[in-house]
C-alpha cells in the first residue's frame, strides 16, 4: 500500500518543527527557508496551514521538465528531482500550479518534497499529528487529486 502525507491544518500550531526537520534532513542544517514543507500562518483567522507537494499523479512538474530530471520513485510514488540532471531552468516552478517546486539559487537547482525516501521527517517531527504519513486511501488523496484535476488544461477526458 502506497502511503502519502496527510495534513490536518486544524491541528497545526505553527511551531515549524516540520520545517526544521525537513531542512535538517535535506540540507543538513535547521533552515526553515530551505524547507520543502512550509507552514503558512493566517494571523487574522488564527489558522496555520502546513503545505507541501501532494505528489500528484500526472505531475505537472515532471511533465514540464525538459531534461527528464523529475522521475517517479517506484517505491514511494513521490516525484523526485535528480540533481545531476536538473539544469535549473525553473520551468517546473511555474508549471506546478500548487507552488510547491521552488528554485534554490545557492545550488542552482530546484527542490521539492520527495517524502524523504519513505520516512518523511516532517511527519515524525510534528508534535500534534497535524502531519501524518498514512495509507494513501485514507488521506483523501483522491479528493485532493480531484481538486488538482480542476487545474488541468483539459476540460474532459
Amino acid at each position: 500500500m502506497q502511503r502519502s502525507l496527510h495534513i490536518d491544518p486544524g491541528k497545526c500550531t505553527g511551531c515549524l518543527q516540520c520545517e526544521m526537520a525537513c531542512s535538517y534532513e535535506n540540507e543538513g542544517a535547521f533552515n526553515p527557508a530551505k524547507s520543502r514543507i512550509k507552514v503558512f500562518s493566517f494571523h487574522d483567522e488564527g489558522r496555520y496551514v502546513p503545505y507541501t507537494c501532494t505528489q500528484c499523479d500526472e505531475a505537472w512538474c515532471m511533465q514540464a521538465c525538459p531534461v527528464d530530471a523529475i522521475v517517479v520513485n517506484p517505491i514511494t510514488g513521490s516525484k523526485d528531482i535528480i540533481n545531476d540532471r536538473c539544469v535549473g531552468c525553473k520551468v517546473c516552478t511555474i508549471a506546478c500550479p500548487f507552488g510547491t517546486v521552488n528554485y534554490n539559487s545557492s545550488t542552482g537547482k530546484v527542490v521539492k518534497c520527495d517524502l524523504c525516501g519513505g520516512d518523511p521527517q516532517c511527519a515524525s517531527a510534528c508534535p500534534t499529528s497535524a502531519i501524518t504519513y498514512i495509507d494513501a486511501d485514507a488521506t483523501g488523496l483522491d479528493r485532493m487529486r480531484q481538486w488538482a484535476s480542476k487545474t488541468d488544461t483539459q476540460a474532459a477526458a
Binding site: T13, G14, C15, L16, Q17, M20, A21, S23, Y24, E27, G28, A29, F30, N31, P32, A33, K34, H43, D44, E45, G46, R47, Y48, A125, P127, T128
Partner: protein, 618 residues
C-alpha cells in the same frame, strides 16, 4: 558550536554596521542570550549612564539553542539599562525573530549610540543595513509590520518594532516581535525609541548548523520533546488552557492581587479566566479563544489566539480589531482585570491587543492603571486630571479609554506612561505604587505566596515573577510542593530558581519547559549542541554567575539593600481573606539568609570572595 560565532555591531550615531567574532571565552562562561549579552553589556556600558542617553546600549541576543530543533528553541532577549528601574533590563521573547536572526548568521546584535533620525535595521543574512524610517515613525507596531512586509516584498520577513507608546516616552514600552510576542518588561522599547531605532527586520536563510554532535543532539531533543508531550502540564494543560488556567487557581489560593493589591481575591476572576475563554459568547456563539499557537520550535504551544466580541463596545465600530490576534495570557489578564477590578473579558482582550499594537507591557500598564484608579478613588486625581475619564475600579470603559490614550501617548495616557512609581509620586501618594525598584508587580500576592515576596524584592530587573517562579513549587508542586505560607527554606528555593532560570534564559529555550524539565533535561541538549562541557553542574554555575554579574552591575548603578524591599502594603497590611488572611509578607525573615547564601554583605554587595569565586570582572 551551535553559536554562529558572529555578532553584529550597529553604531546608530555613526550609521555603521559591522560584523565581529563572538567572544568564545565569554560564551564558555555565560552560554548565550541573557548571560552572554549581559557580559558584553557590563563590559561596555557605564552602570551610571542615562538609560535614555547615547551611552546606554541595547543588545538583542539569541541563545545557542535558538533556531535549533530543541523544543521552544526560538527565544531571544533584549538587554539594556532600564529607564523604569535604572538597573539591568533583560526581557525575553519568543515568536520567530530570534530564530530568524540566528538563521541569518548572527548570535546577537549590539546597538550603540543614538541615530539622529529614525532608522530601522534590515538584516538579510550577511547583508545588514540601516534604512531611514521617517515614514514609519508615528506608526503602530502593526502598521510598521505591514509596511515593512510590503516594502521588502517578503511575507517571511520577521519584524520586531516599537509602537507609538515608546516614541512618546512611555517608560514601560515593549519591543514587540511577530505582531504579538514581546520583550515586554522594564521599558526596553523605550530605550529602543531613545535610539531612534524603529524596527529590526530580519530574513535568514543560512540555517543553524554547527551542532557539536548532531546525532546525539537529534536524539536528546527528540527524547526531551517526548518528556514535554507526556507531561500533563506541558502536554495537555498549557496547550488547552494556556497560562490563563492560573486565574482561578491563584484566586482560590487567596493570592490574586485585586484592585491595586488592596485585596487578595477577585469576585470576577472566573469571568476573565482561561475557562471563560473557552465559553461560547452570546453574540455569535464563538468562544474568545480560537486556537493555541506556538512560538518557533515550541512543542507546547501555550499561546492564546483570540478574538474580541464584534458587538463589544470597544470594537463595535472598529472592524480592524475583529480578527484574531495574540490573546490573553495570565499576567496580562490579571493586570488588566483583577488588578483594575474589571471583569469584562472582551475589554481585556481588546486592551491586550492595544498593548501589542503599540508596544506596551500589559503588566506595567494594568498595574499603573490600577494605581491611578486608587488615586482617583482617593481623590488625589479627578476627572479633570484624567481628561474626563471616570477612572474607577471596575470600569471597563475607563480601562479601554485610558489604554487608547496611553498607546499613543496622549492626554492622561502620558501620565500613565510614567509607570506606577512616578505616577504615584507625582500625585503625592508613593505608597499606592505596587512596585519594586520602580517596576510593577505581576500577578501573585506575596502575602499568600511568601517565596514570591523574596522573588520580587531581589529580582535583578525589579518586580518580576520570571526571575524565580517559585509559584511552581509553592502552588503547583513542581518539582516538589512547598507551603506557600512558609518562609523557611524559601531563600534556598528562590536562589535555586533564580540560577536555573538564568541558565535557561541563556540557552535559547523557554522557561515554560521547566514545568516538565529540569536542568537534568536541558543540560544534555546544550551539551550535545555546544562545544565544551555542559553538565548540569556547569549550567547551574553559569546561572549563578549570571545572577551575580547582573547584581554587580545593579550595585554599580546605585542599587543598595534598601532597594530589596516591597511596598509597605504587603509588609504591613495583612491579607483580608483566604488562607493567608491575617498574614503579611515576612520578607525580613528571608532577606538576611538570602544575602548570606549569595555571598553578599549586609548592604547586598558582592564580597570580593564571591566576585573571585565566579570569576567576575573587577
Amino acid at each position: 558550536m551551535a553559536w554562529t560565532k558572529q555578532i553584529l555591531r550597529v553604531n546608530l550615531t555613526e550609521g555603521t554596521v559591522n560584523a565581529e567574532p563572538l567572544n568564545m571565552e565569554w560564551a564558555n562562561e555565560y552560554l548565550g542570550q541573557r548571560g552572554l549579552a549581559t557580559r558584553y553589556f557590563v563590559d561596555e556600558v557605564d552602570a551610571t549612564c542615562d538609560a535614555l542617553g547615547p551611552d546606554n546600549k541595547l543588545i538583542m541576543a539569541t541563545g545557542p539553542l535558538t533556531g535549533t530543533m530543541a523544543s521552544t528553541g526560538g527565544r531571544y532577549s533584549v538587554i539594556c539599562k532600564s529607564p523604569l528601574t535604572g538597573v539591568m533590563a533583560c526581557s525575553n521573547s519568543g515568536g520567530f525573530i530570534g530564530a530568524e536572526l540566528k538563521n541569518a548568521g548572527w548570535d546577537m546584535v549590539i546597538f550603540e549610540g543614538q541615530s539622529p533620525t529614525p532608522v530601522y535595521l534590515h538584516v538579510e543574512n550577511e547583508k545588514a543595513e540601516l534604512i531611514p524610517a521617517d515614514d514609519l515613525w508615528g506608526k503602530s507596531v502593526w502598521e510598521t509590520d505591514e509596511l515593512l512586509h510590503q516594502k521588502h516584498q517578503d511575507p517571511q520577513l520577521r519584524i520586531a518594532a516599537i509602537g507609538r507608546s515608546a516614541e512618546e516616552g512611555c517608560l514601560f514600552a515593549a519591543v514587540v516581535n511577530d505582531l504579538h510576542r514581546a520583550a515586554g518588561r522594564s521599558g526596553v522599547g523605550t530605550v529602543m525609541a531613545s535610539k531612534n531605532l524603529k524596527a529590526v527586520a530580519v530574513r535568514g536563510s543560512k540555517g543553524v548548523g554547527n551542532i557539536k554532535d548532531p546525532i546525539r543532539f537529534m536524539r536528546e531533543t527528540a527524547d526531551q520533546k517526548k518528556v514535554l508531550a507526556e507531561n500533563a502540564v506541558t502536554g495537555t494543560g498549557l496547550p488547552t488552557y494556556g497560562t490563563q488556567v492560573l486565574m482561578n487557581v491563584i484566586n482560590e489560593l487567596g493570592a490574586l492581587p485585586t484592585r491595586n493589591m488592596s485585596e487578595v481575591q477577585f469576585e470576577g476572576a472566573h469571568d476573565v479566566s482561561g475557562e471563560a475563554m473557552h465559553e461560547p459568547r452570546k453574540s455569535d456563539g464563538k468562544p474568545n479563544l480560537t486556537t493555541n499557537g506556538a512560538c518557533f520550535g515550541c512543542t507546547i504551544a501555550c499561546g492564546r489566539i483570540s478574538t474580541v466580541d464584534k458587538t463589544h463596545f470597544s470594537v463595535a465600530d472598529k472592524p480592524e480589531y475583529w480578527g484574531n490576534s495574540g490573546g490573553l495570557e495570565y499576567e496580562a489578564a490579571w493586570a488588566l482585570g483583577p488588578d483594575t477590578g474589571v471583569n469584562d473579558i472582551d475589554a481585556l482582550t481588546y486592551v491586550n491587543f492595544l498593548c501589542n499594537e503599540d508596544g506596551m507591557d500589559p503588566i506595567s500598564f494594568g498595574s499603573t492603571v490600577a494605581a491611578a484608579m486608587e488615586l482617583y478613588e482617593a481623590g488625589d486625581i479627578n476627572s479633570e486630571t484624567t481628561g474626563g475619564i471616570e477612572l474607577k475600579f471596575g470600569s471597563a470603559e475607563a480601562l479601554v479609554a485610558i489604554a487608547e490614550l496611553t498607546a499613543k501617548g496622549e492626554g492622561f495616557g502620558k501620565d500613565i506612561g510614567l509607570g506606577s512609581k512616578r505616577l504615584c509620586e507625582k500625585y503625592g501618594k508613593p505608597e499606592f505604587s505596587m512596585t519594586v525598584k520602580g517596576q510593577e508587580f505581576p500577578a501573585y500576592d506575596p502575602r499568600g505566596i511568601q517565596g514570591m515576596g523574596l522573588t520580587y524584592a531581589t529580582s535583578n530587573r525589579g518586580a518580576c515573577h520570571l526571575r524565580s517562579y517559585t509559584v511552581s513549587s509553592e502552588v503547583l508542586g513542581i518539582p516538589v510542593k512547598t507551603d506557600p505560607l512558609e518562609t523557611e527554606g524559601k531563600p534556598e528555593l528562590v536562589m535555586a530558581f533564580q540560577d536555573a532560570t538564568a541558565a535557561v534564559d541563556s540557552s535559547g529555550l523557554c522557561i515554560f519547559t521547566t514545568f516538565a524539565w529540569s536542568l537534568e533535561n536541558i543540560a544534555p541538549q546544550i551539551d550535545a549542541a555546544c562545544e565544551g562541557d555542559w553538565s548540569v553542574e556547569k549550567c547551574a554555575e553559569v546561572g549563578a554567575r549570571i545572577w551575580q554579574l547582573e547584581r554587580d552591575f545593579n550595585n554599580r548603578a546605585g542599587m543598595t539593600a534598601a532597594d530589596d524591599t516591597l511596598p509597605q502594603r504587603l509588609l504591613k497590611d495583612a491579607a483580608n481573606a483566604g488562607p493567608a488572611e491575617g498574614r503579611v509578607c515576612d520578607l525580613d525573615q528571608m532577606i538576611p539568609q538570602y544575602y548570606e547564601l549569595r555571598g553578599w554583605d549586609s548592604e547586598g554587595r558582592l564580597t570580593d570572595e564571591t566576585r573571585s569565586r565566579y570569576g567576575l570582572p573587577a
